[in-house]
Symmetry: C2
Subunit: 199 residues, 2 copies
């Protein structure tokens, strides 16, 4: 419908999650009206972020180097590991200031409907860490919804026999909700009130 | 909160219209998980569209060359000019297949609340076209809302003394609505039923 480059731009933007055809069109026209230097900076920032970021080889958080900032921080307690689904969940937990240990990012949750099983997640790597690092406690901090609870139960069954303390964040978060949207106080209380998981 | 490049990306995306902080974060994580070649293509498409597109020097539609595709098309009737607010409105009118003339894009509408007056719009250029081209009719096809109606009335007052036929698209579009969202049949009827504007 539009001239080539505009049509391509609308189609590219429409491929992004949550951007429908009308939003893509509005974004495209916004871009066309921006000063060229702003557009170039936007494009550079996109490529730059993708090129410079990779996954921490220990905890699979986002990292600029081989290890992420948290794994590189000596002041963090290496004996407690908080298991989350995504890097953004680390930001949510950090905001509570209730946790000073390390993390392990599963990069998803078990979801049979979406075809995601334990083998698609960083479960093997978590077990290897428990074997090789001096970990005393694993806090299962997956989302309090069906996928997150399933993942937590699954991990508890694997981790409990290894003789470490396995805990799950306390309820207090609304069930069916999303960890990313919890306020700091609720999420902080949930961390403080964590309880053992029977396998 | 995030490592530098990710934080920059979230901030850049958050500057786009309709993208709040949470959407920006979700888009950023989506980008970080895309293959690098897809990310580079996205960035290239953004810059490419902005670099290759400019405004038609006659009608101020988007154009890859000095004139837009419609102005370059000999089969279009040069005696009828449809005045719209934005290039996307041309796409809406074209979809009706009821119009075979040329366009004039105002690049906005009169809006005292947003500080947009006639001098910020391509009004002077429209008057110059009426002086120099053999234009018999100007169809005022601005949005059927306060800003669009105000703009149409303003233009009618300027154009009527020049001895050309000045029309306004018929009502039929829901008042207070947006031309961009009209269905083809409604907008087509509105075009066919256009009426004179008394100044």
């Amino acid at each position: 419908m539009y001239e080539g480059p505009v049509q391509s731009l609308i189609e590219e933007l429409g491929r992004l999650p949550g951007i429908g055809p009308k939003s893509a069109q509005r974004l495209a026209f916004h871009v066309l009206k921006l000063p060229l230097e702003d557009v170039k900076r936007l494009a550079r920032t996109i490529v730059d972020a993708r090129e410079r970021m990779s996954w921490c080889t220990r905890c699979f958080n986002l990292a600029e180097a081989e290890l992420c900032k948290i794994c590189l921080d000596d002041r963090r307690d290496p004996t407690v590991v908080c298991v989350v689904e995504e890097p953004r969940d680390i930001v949510a937990v950090e905001r509570t200031r209730e946790f000073a240990g390390r993390y392990h990012v599963l990069q998803g949750a078990i979801s049979p409907l979406s075809g995601v099983g334990p083998e698609q997640l960083r479960v093997r790597e978590l077990l290897a860490r428990v074997e090789s690092e001096a970990i005393a406690e694993v806090i299962l901090c997956t989302n309090p919804n069906i996928e997150g609870d399933t993942t937590a139960m699954y991990l508890a069954r694997l981790l409990n026999p290894l003789g470490i303390h396995v805990t799950r964040i306390a309820s207090g978060l609304p069930v069916g909700g999303d960890l990313e949207y919890a306020d700091e106080i609720t999420l902080g209380r949930a961390l403080v009130g964590r309880r053992d998981v029977a396998s």
